[in-house]
């Protein structure tokens, strides 16, 4: 296997304050499929091009935010190695759960930025998976914004460097790009990839732990970004920024908010990353164009609205 270890983001649980309205947003506007309910407060969803049981859970709660973000590993050995290395070399809090429908055991690690990061290998094939035998490109025409899959998240919290060190040394990810702090010491933000994406996760230095800037859904190109924007305009979804391009990762993007206040991203394009590529470096004075490649400056909401 040339692609080994951690494969990709596979399961994310978001807190939402209005389950019904927020479910409509993810189902009808973003275009995910409802897999079913775990209980009265939790709904499972997936995108059309994902094979696994589900990839997103919305959980009714008092305030929005991220419960956890889980990565799928290629095999049990990867899971075990990460669990042991985390315990032995990092000493981060670690637990496991066996009660996620369709999933085997998920190990949860509390990283220094305050996030719950999950690792698992076992998950059932979804009933509504992409075709396998003489497959069509899709069974039913994708609806809404039509994302192929959950793509990545931007996590925010203190001790950014320690969380990044764990993602690289323990999870085996590569740093694809980083922005230096204004004093040139250490990273303000780091982008990390375990495959050929420009990032599977990014970690932003922030004074409050466990925060999420955005959860991103994968579109395929700029035209799909435009169609997503039309849906945003048509249905009055609150937009944050875009359609635009990031200088960092080169991704084409829109930021917008779900009805509970979580920031979503539809993300497309970006370069194809390989671990022999040089790490791209950004100085703090260029962060504006790094994030907002066209506008060249961050809008006021970018660093102030997190959940």
């Amino acid at each position: 296997m040339a692609l080994t270890g951690i494969l990709r983001t596979g399961l994310v649980q978001l807190r939402v304050t209005d389950l019904e309205e927020t479910l409509q947003h993810y189902r009808d506007r973003i275009g995910l499929y409802v897999v079913g309910n775990i209980d009265e407060n939790r709904v499972m969803l997936k995108a059309y091009d994902e094979f696994d049981h589900h990839s997103l859970v919305l959980r009714k709660a008092d305030k929005p935010g991220l419960d956890f973000m889980c990565f799928k590993a290629l095999d049990e050995k990867t899971v075990n190695d990460i669990v042991h290395k985390t315990k032995d070399e990092f000493g981060f809090p670690i637990t496991f759960e066996d009660n996620h429908p369709g999933f085997g055991r998920i190990w949860f690690i509390t990283v220094p930025t305050g996030h719950q990061i999950g690792i698992y290998n076992q998950v059932e094939l979804s009933e509504n998976h992409p075709m396998i035998d003489n497959p069509h490109i899709w069974k039913d025409c994708p609806h809404g914004m039509g994302p192929a899959c959950v793509d990545h998240a931007l996590l925010c919290g203190p001790n950014q460097a320690e969380t990044v060190r764990w993602f690289t040394e323990c999870m085996g990810m590569s740093i694809t790009e980083y922005v230096l702090n204004p004093d040139g010491q250490g990273h303000l933000c780091t982008w990390l990839s375990g495959n050929t994406r420009g990032h599977d996760v990014a970690v932003l230095s922030f004074n409050k732990p466990g925060m999420i800037h955005h959860l991103s859904f994968q579109l395929k190109n700029w035209d799909e970004i435009g169609r997503a924007a039309d849906i945003i305009g048509r249905y009055g979804i609150k937009i944050d920024a875009g359609p635009m391009r990031h200088g960092i990762t080169r991704g084409q993007t829109i930021y917008f908010f779900d009805p509970s206040g979580n920031r979503n991203e539809t993300y497309a394009g970006g370069y194809e990353y390989f671990p022999d590529h040089p790490t791209r470096k950004w100085t703090a004075d260029h962060v504006g164009e790094g994030i907002f490649y066209y506008e060249k400056e961050l809008n006021g909401r970018f660093l102030s609205i997190l959940t």
Copy 2:
């Protein structure tokens, strides 16, 4: 590292009968950059988004075809492991060369289908590489069809199964899709990936060894496919098929010929492959839609024109 072992196709050498006219095709129409001459019969080229020294060599020869196709490995250990395993377990002919400008040692293996497959790890950074510090999305606007990189090739020859076995067991690639022979025994064609592409190489069963069906250049989306087609139309490039979509890999594509008769492909889209995905299976009666998803049947040239 989550992406390990063999990374991607990194260097291909094609035979061309008219070097000047064929160079114009790859430089001005496809849109590659000339890196320089190795000698009077060989020209080095690269695409705008490749970091390495060069990725394509055109060699003047009496007849068109493929001299060799080389894969870049993440590290020396991968190269050594493949070399030893090839010698010890496969017994295929193996040599090395140290005289490829910009490249370290390249090991060449003659696989059962009759192709020279190269493996290397060392290669210099190109002078004309993508930006690294506060990078722009490109230094100069891509020209011609504007491919980001060399993508893959379809190799044809006898003993298909043995070559595929070597790509999986020795090179560590995954089979993403295959088409069964009409009798349901063995594969007519197999698609193999060492990263998240739908394929890095495909191997088609054919009675003559060492043949190439096409060399493919990576575009980013259907719109770029359309622009490539406009260039094909404008400059009278001989088209074979497309613009269209493959059912297999879902890639969007055009097949056309260089002035020496080698078939090129511009390829975009396709799904994002992960090694935990089920292998897609095609029966021989569906091969038409597997290749020509819109037309549903192969054209007469598909299996008759190879170089």
Copy 3:
């Protein structure tokens, strides 16, 4: 008014042999909206971006083909002028009908190529019309191939020159392009526009009267052409040619067949025509690239399958 006289194709009636299956094709695959039934053999449809009552009628019949093609005039004066000029100067057979639901009187003229061409001015606003007050870009996201409107048709028959003369002198259309006959005498085919489209109708010289080559639906760009092709591939719609570009009109196109055998086109792009533009001229030896800009030669079906 700068745009006067004949505005555009407004109503077309096609014969279909299997009403139910063909209705599904136009409704679910092409993506038209059913307006209602005229009687048990006739169904009215319209596209999402048309204001008028309906634009297409499918009529159950023994064989496929075109019953009539009608143009909307800006005002009654235009209709009257055309009616009188047709009677007085051309002497073509002319009748009228007052029983088309939602439409006022439609005048039908039998042109020398054997087609029934209708002219009208009065038609009711559709119930399902585009928004007018603080309008959204669409009320419901377009489905299927999502055409904005009926666009044009290619009519085939004898006495091509006389029908063209009537379209120019009586209907006030401009010749945007033509292909000369192989002997350089007269037109093999003529493209005519009454607005800024590359054509509203084209007339091809053919030995059998009243034939239609294709009815075309308007898409907006190459990406929509690609999505239409995906629907064609997914649902096994019989494709004729494309996705491709025409040299003539520069339109981007797919030809395919409805279940009754009528050829459809989805058409996008093309230049913006103005009547001060020079008429584009094609010689017979370039007709291949005029129609099939990428392939450069007509396929065998192009001139043999008409309804």
Copy 4:
């Protein structure tokens, strides 16, 4: 002729403060072709898909802004009718000039908003015109943002209603959309079309005469909008807003500034307008989404930066 009277915007002259730098912007970034110099202070340019001699003049001056905007008429009769009607019924100041290279007489009318509007019919075919005989889709691949032509302008000044009345009653244009003033009395802004574009000119009520909000260049689709944005990002062109869509006209757009401070627009899409379409009406409280369909509110620059 179905398209009669005023055809389209044909010639615009802008004031620029730095001729050399601004010329580079229009030539290399927007992608126009230099036709030549009129004198040391004036440079003529055109877009690749325009047949006429030139369509834009940059004039070196002390401050940026619009010198004049001229419309091409189909014939001399249209010009004469407009000249006489303007004199007789409107009494606006009117003059003519015979010294515009490649153009016949241009009549200039000072409209109540303070703009110089020109009317002409005679203009020479450009040397660098689109192909006419067995034409290719373009002679040389469009460069820069690659606009097909000058498209429209948004004019700002007092007495908006009187200028609009002249555009409709004398120039024969249709009102495609308007925004009511906050008190519901009269128009804040009016969009006018003489062909099938959503607008050829728009007129915004403003307290200072002769101002221009933007000059617009026509692109063909959202993908070209994205490429234009990439050029804006790559070369540090000052962006104002977008990429986005307008609710009004449905056009897809970017606003940005030339080096002299004039606002440019690249504009694509929008509906195909016909004069039998209902006029779209916007109330003042919806003007945000009318202009910024995704953001739903005007940015601070929109009404404050005019030239």
